[in-house]
């Protein structure tokens, strides 16, 4: 703990060309001084430890991490940040353009660090190649883009003009409509909005995986500690001290009551002045811990005498999912060839660059929460219960969100903010440290999967049995969804008449596992696609042709007995990979004939994913209207978490209404003014909210045309204060001033809801779980250094059936980003509670880890999707990990079944393999 007595100093420096002066605390970081004292909130904090580079600024032209720069060392020097560079530096202006053209800023939280670093590079080297760019930007992490678009954007900066599309309708790869604020430093994320005098909340967390605790005299402690306003514990939860995204399974307390069930679980929170919280010494806080032995793996938790995490969940089994058809056991016994294997995966951290942050206040008796979220209305549902307040008295205003990937579907900071604001009556803020974010928010489920698959001599699949245990951690979160989704998807996009799959969610004292791109399907795909390669090899068949022999086609039955008459695009995806598969395999063979230690291999894998909730209602509502002045307003309630919903939904709306997309005014998902467009998860926004937007535009268009009794195909043009409707030579004019505006100021309005058609699953998992599936197949070439166990991916080819590419640039962005996350999961990412709780020890891919990616967009229109479009957000990483594992096998002959395939693990397997070969 630092000595509390601070010495103050005054320094002055040039900030973006202006002389500034400030007082400093001893040891104060430049990042903190810039953000808190100079309102340079375009300098982002992702880790406060030099690992993410989000805080990069220029000092005398050199890029440095502001979080590792003592502010004192800026004295007398010149400091530049993105917002200043954007106004004054030509390279920055060019980069701002090309970042938008290439989709190099998705969520935008890494963008200031990326662009500032790129400016430094271009100042010295105006024509860099991709290696130069990777070198210069290697210290800045991005979790969304997969980096390739960033590399392309930096190389292209200043050399290309922007592709402008006047209408911007679906099919056009237009820039993001909300892109400018991401590249000029003005986007406001969760930590960027609070007034600087807001009280600060800090959560007290369990240092143990499992422990009982009790408090000393909290009131006395608060009174006796300068600057502390109040302490919050479970007694401050006026409603239910229990939340959970799936209400029947809700089991997580806002503050633990007697026992903490995982390391990092909240037991209390202190609220106080920023300076006091900053220097708060946790060791003085009156809490006594009593550590208890934890169950960390599903096997430990399932032992007969293992303590129950939740009394009513016998055997620590949270719930299970089941799909069965035909006679899998009998057919497997009689199959010409069978393969089986056990596969294990780890906790994976979402590692968005923006730690959870937000701000809240009480206004006119209502509590308003401004925070980063993927699901504003679900936040409202949870707060209504937790606060025990009228729903009408709570307002959720989502801020910009610096990545979510599933974890920001669950509430995190929201209850602390709301409870603290209500208790103190003052504005409050909270920002998780990187470690807190990693310890306390959800993870991808570690899986233990035993799988057996059979085929006949001619290569037709005969049967498959899948048994999966998913470590759902201390609380349910999205565990039930994972258990339900996995059995429906574990077959992959193939015809399997004899199939049984069971998945169980098991509680342990790990962090709660929740939603992470794919809800368990990526784990299942690792097992299934790995074994498909083994089976093809056993049958001596080409691995790609084996898959093609078994893929689902239109009118085939899925393992749930569902039939799609159109839109099954997996064959087209695999066929798209065929040319690369053939040439790359030959090339690898040639390479390997001359290289012993470095071995190349090619891997492929496929995947599918059902869009929307599994057999459950899943509506989105989109409201739109026209004002008297002719402004077209789209209440776009689908949270844009970087994937581009603001743009894609607007494109669908504009296309249907037949107006240029740039004419729309977007209103965001503030729960006071915008209807519920559902959560941003399950790859549902383009499909479900897109359809609601289409219906909303259709209704609006109908109303306009009705006013003049023109035929439905008439052309409309919405101008200033008027609408012109042309029906061949007949032209009608509507003077909007003559119409009466409603309370929202609309003279014409529409609000429409879309809910995808599904049917419940019976006790054997038969039914219609999703209205649509999307399909994908990836190919990867790797080079394995067999002496050290390192895997270097050299090239990806990714084929995706998206039904209709509403915005091809956004589609590519999703594919690249998904591949980067799939690569991380396959090769390096392993969250170990207590050991990898920062971005130094938890490794995610950097710019140098992602090879070039060729994308193939397949468009097999879906019967229900808007303009045939399908969801994509999660499909993108499902085939990546198994394709990599298959490529490693192709290169080395070694099948890794325990991911990640770290060098240490792969090298150990290589040693064993050669030993066995030598002795056998």
């Amino acid at each position: 703990m630092m000595d509390k007595q601070m010495a103050y100093d005054i320094i002055s420096f040039q900030l973006n060309g202006q002389l500034v002066q400030t007082e400093l605390n001893a040891g104060e970081r430049l990042s903190a001084a810039l953000r808190d004292k100079m309102h340079s909130r375009d300098v982002k904090i992702g880790c406060d430890a030099g690992d993410c580079g989000a805080c990069t600024v220029l000092i005398d032209g050199a890029p440095v991490c502001a979080c590792l720069t003592p502010a004192h060392q800026a004295n007398g020097r010149e400091v530049e940040t993105l917002s200043g560079l954007f106004l004054e530096n030509q390279h920055a202006k060019n980069l701002a353009d090309s970042f938008q053209n290439y989709g190099a800023a998705q969520c935008g939280i890494c963008t200031p660090g990326m662009m500032v670093s790129a400016v430094a590079l271009l100042n010295n080297n105006p024509t860099p190649n991709s290696d130069d760019v990777a070198n210069a930007l290697g210290g800045v992490l991005c979790r969304c883009t997969g980096y390739r678009a960033i590399i392309d954007a930096v190389i292209a900066a200043g050399t290309e003009t922007s592709p402008y599309d006047a209408k911007g309708h679906t099919g056009a790869g237009i820039r993001r409509l909300d892109g400018l604020q991401k590249v000029n430093g003005t986007e406001q994320f969760g930590d960027d909005i609070a007034p600087s005098d807001a009280l600060v909340i800090r959560v007290i967390r369990s240092p143990f995986h499992r422990a009982c605790f009790h408090f000393g005299d909290l009131d006395a402690w608060a009174k006796g500690t300068p600057g502390i306003e109040t302490v919050l514990t479970c007694v401050d939860v006026k409603g239910e001290n229990c939340f959970g995204v799936i209400p029947p399974f809700a089991d997580q307390p806002v503050f633990a009551e007697r026992e903490a069930r995982f390391r990092g679980e909240a037991v209390a929170a202190i609220v106080g002045l920023a300076s006091s919280i900053e220097n708060f010494d946790e060791s003085g806080f009156p809490v006594v811990w009593e550590e208890r032995p934890p169950s960390m793996t599903v096997f430990e938790a399932m032992e007969r005498d293992a303590p129950l995490l939740h009394e009513h969940r016998v055997g620590n089994i949270m719930c299970g999912g089941f799909v069965s058809r035909g006679m899998p056991d009998a057919t497997l016994n009689n199959s010409d060839a069978t393969v089986e294997g056990h596969f294990s995966t780890s906790f994976v951290e979402h590692a968005y660059i923006e730690p959870e942050a937000g701000f809240a206040l009480v206004k006119d008796g209502r509590v308003e929460v401004y925070a980063c979220t993927q699901a504003p209305v679900m936040d409202l549902d949870e707060l209504e219960k937790i606060l025990g307040m009228q729903r009408a008295d709570i307002r959720i205003v989502p801020t910009g969100i610096g990545g979510g990937f599933g974890s920001k579907l669950d509430i995190s900071i929201q209850p602390y903010l709301a409870i603290a604001a209500l208790k103190t009556g003052k504005p409050v803020r909270i920002t998780y440290s990187r470690t807190e974010s990693m310890q306390s928010t959800t993870k991808r489920h570690p899986a233990e999967m035993s799988v057996k698959i059979g085929a006949s001599k001619n290569g037709k699949l005969t049967g498959m049995v899948f048994d999966g245990l998913f470590n759902t951690g201390a609380y349910a979160s999205w565990g039930p969804t994972v258990s339900n989704r996995v059995p429906v998807h574990a077959s992959g996009p193939y015809v399997l008449e004899n199939y049984r799959a069971e998945a169980k969610g098991i509680h342990t004292n790990g962090p709660p596992s929740g939603a992470f791109r794919g809800f368990g399907v990526p784990q299942a795909a690792i097992a299934q696609e790995s074994l498909f390669d083994e089976l093809a090899d056993k049958l001596d068949m080409d691995r790609l042709e084996f898959r093609l022999l078994n893929v689902l086609e239109n009118n085939d039955e899925t393992v749930c007995g569902q039939v799609f008459a159109q839109g099954v695009g997996i064959r087209a995806c695999f066929e798209g990979l065929r040319p690369a598969w053939q040439t790359e395999r030959k090339a690898a063979e040639v390479y390997n004939s001359k290289s012993k230690i470095l071995r190349r291999g090619v891997g492929i894998a496929g995947g599918w994913y059902g869009c929307g909730n599994t057999s459950l209602p899943n509506p989105s509502t989109i409201k739109s209207g026209i004002r008297q002045d002719g402004t077209i307003v789209l209440h776009q309630g689908a949270m844009d978490i970087g994937q581009g919903a603001n743009t894609a939904i607007a494109q669908i709306f504009a296309t249907t209404l037949d107006v240029p997309v740039h004419q729309l005014e977007l209103v965001g998902p503030d729960t006071d003014i915008t209807p519920d467009a559902g959560k941003t998860s399950a790859s549902r926004q383009t499909f479900v909210s897109g359809n609601a937007a289409r219906l909303s535009a259709q209704a609006l268009r109908k109303d306009i045309i009705k006013l003049v009794n023109a035929p439905q195909n008439a052309q409309i043009e919405i101008g200033q204060g008027e609408i012109t409707i042309s029906d061949g030579d007949i032209v009608h004019r509507i003077d909007l001033a003559l119409l009466t505006p409603d309370a929202d100021g609309f003279v014409l309005r529409a609000q429409e809801t879309y809910d995808p058609p599904t049917k419940p699953l019976d006790e054997n998992g038969q039914g219609e779980p999703y209205a649509q599936f999307g399909y994908a197949a990836h190919l990867v070439v790797v080079e394995v250094d067999t002496a050290m166990g390192t895997t270097r991916p050299i090239k990806f080819v990714a084929a995706h059936d998206v039904g209709h590419a509403v915005n091809p640039m956004l589609v590519k962005g999703q594919i690249h980003g998904g591949i980067a996350q799939g690569l991380g999961m396959a090769l390096m990412e392993e969250y170990i509670p207590g050991q990898t709780e920062n971005l130094h020890d938890y490794l995610i891919p950097t710019i140098g880890d992602i090879p070039p990616i060729e994308t193939i967009i397949v468009e097999e229109p879906d019967a229900h999707g808007p303009f045939g479009a399908k969801g994509l957000g999660e499909h993108v990483l499902i085939p990546t990990a198994p394709a990599l594992l298959n490529a490693i096998k192709d290169a080395t002959g070694i099948r890794i079944t325990n991911v990640p395939a770290t060098p240490s693990r792969l090298r150990a397997a290589i040693r064993m393999h050669y030993k066995e070969q030598a002795s056998g």
């Binding site: 703990m1 630092m2 000595d3 007595q5 601070m6 010495a7 100093d9 001893a26 040891g27 970081r29 406060d48 430890a49 030099g50 690992d51 580079g53 990069t56 000092i59 050199a62 890029p63 440095v64 991490c65 979080c67 590792l68 720069t69 003592p70 004192h72 060392q73 660090g113 670093s117 430094a120 210069a136 930007l137 290697g138 210290g139 800045v140 010494d281 946790e282 060791s283 002496a787 050290m788 166990g789 390192t790 390096m828 170990i832 050991q835 990898t836 130094h840 020890d841 490794l843 891919p845 950097t846 710019i847 140098g848 880890d849 770290t902 060098p903 240490s904 090298r907 150990a908 040693r911």
Partner: protein, 286 residues
């Protein structure tokens, strides 16, 4: 906590010598600022040495190079003479963190932080570098290998500050190289680091060698057996094998999630072989 920015080395050493409780030198701050965030970090005095004049310079002298303690590692690879003379040292410094870290961090900080995995340290040791240590009673020269004594520990006495690193002028036909192993492409702490410095005679026979290992023991290891294995050879396959084995034999690593004992030991051998080949080529060997 006090924060001081003295402008002379004398003032800096006096401040440290006079400090009653825990005090720290601050250079780039890339280690210290991270540590300062830990709840158990304690300090009463921080002495920032970046304002001391002459600290931020690389000077070429008749005997070699003097690298001031304030020189950020980015400045090393901008110095073409230094890059030509000691490419291995520069490439090691170039591996620390990222461009954004290298704009701040110093090789002296890397040395004094005394992490067993510090990248520049094996390269400095292989190059035979010397630390110029200033103290309340004058300066002394200490071989770089004698500065770290164990994880987080150095042989510096109270009040002492490393003022500069001295690199000798390389003999004719000398080449050095540094290789490390990390699980991803950039931005990670070495699991193993190997530096090799070779001098050849005219026909390409190795006549002098220094091989140093990082991250496989509590501090940097200078492997004499490895040097002996290559001296007198032209790095034939059997010699490389012997080099590799002696490096593996010298390892006393720990098990952690970045790499097991077996893995680190074996990789040290592989890297030694590869680094030796690069150093040999750089020295003009064919």
């Amino acid at each position: 906590m006090r924060y001081e920015r003295p402008d002379t080395m004398q003032a800096a050493t006096a401040l440290l010598a006079g400090a009653e409780a825990k005090s720290f030198v601050l250079a780039g701050g890339t280690d210290l600022l991270v540590r300062m965030q830990n709840d158990d970090f304690e300090a009463d005095l921080i002495v920032d040495i970046k304002a001391i004049s002459g600290m931020a310079k690389v000077t070429e002298t008749d005997d070699g190079f003097v690298i001031g303690a304030g020189v950020p590692s980015v400045a090393l690879f901008e110095d073409t003479a230094l890059v030509a003379a000691w490419p291995g040292v520069v490439e090691a410094a170039n591996l620390i963190g990222s461009t954004q870290i290298q704009g701040r961090c110093t090789i002296v900080g890397n040395l004094c932080n005394a992490s067993p995995a510090a990248d520049s340290v094996p390269a400095l040791v292989a190059a035979g570098a010397v630390a110029q240590v200033a103290g309340p009673s004058g300066t002394r020269d200490v071989a770089v290998i004698d500065i770290p004594t164990g994880p987080g520990k150095t042989s510096l006495a109270k009040g002492e500050i490393i003022q500069a690193i001295l690199l000798p002028k390389p003999n004719a036909r000398t080449g050095d190289a540094y290789l490390r192993f990390i699980p991803r492409t950039e931005m990670d702490i070495a699991v193993v680091g190997v530096a090799v410095n070779l001098t050849l005679n005219e026909d390409g026979t190795v006549i002098a060698a220094r091989v140093a290992l990082g991250a496989v023991g509590p501090k940097v290891i200078l492997v004499d057996t490895a040097a002996k294995a290559v001296i007198g050879s032209k790095l034939e396959d059997v010699v490389l094998q012997a080099l590799s084995e002696s490096c593996s034999a010298a390892c006393t690593p720990i098990n952690d999630k970045r790499g097991t004992v077996a893995f680190r030991t074996q990789v040290a051998g592989v890297l030694a072989r590869r680094a030796a080949q690069t150093a040999y080529t750089r020295a003009g060997g064919k």
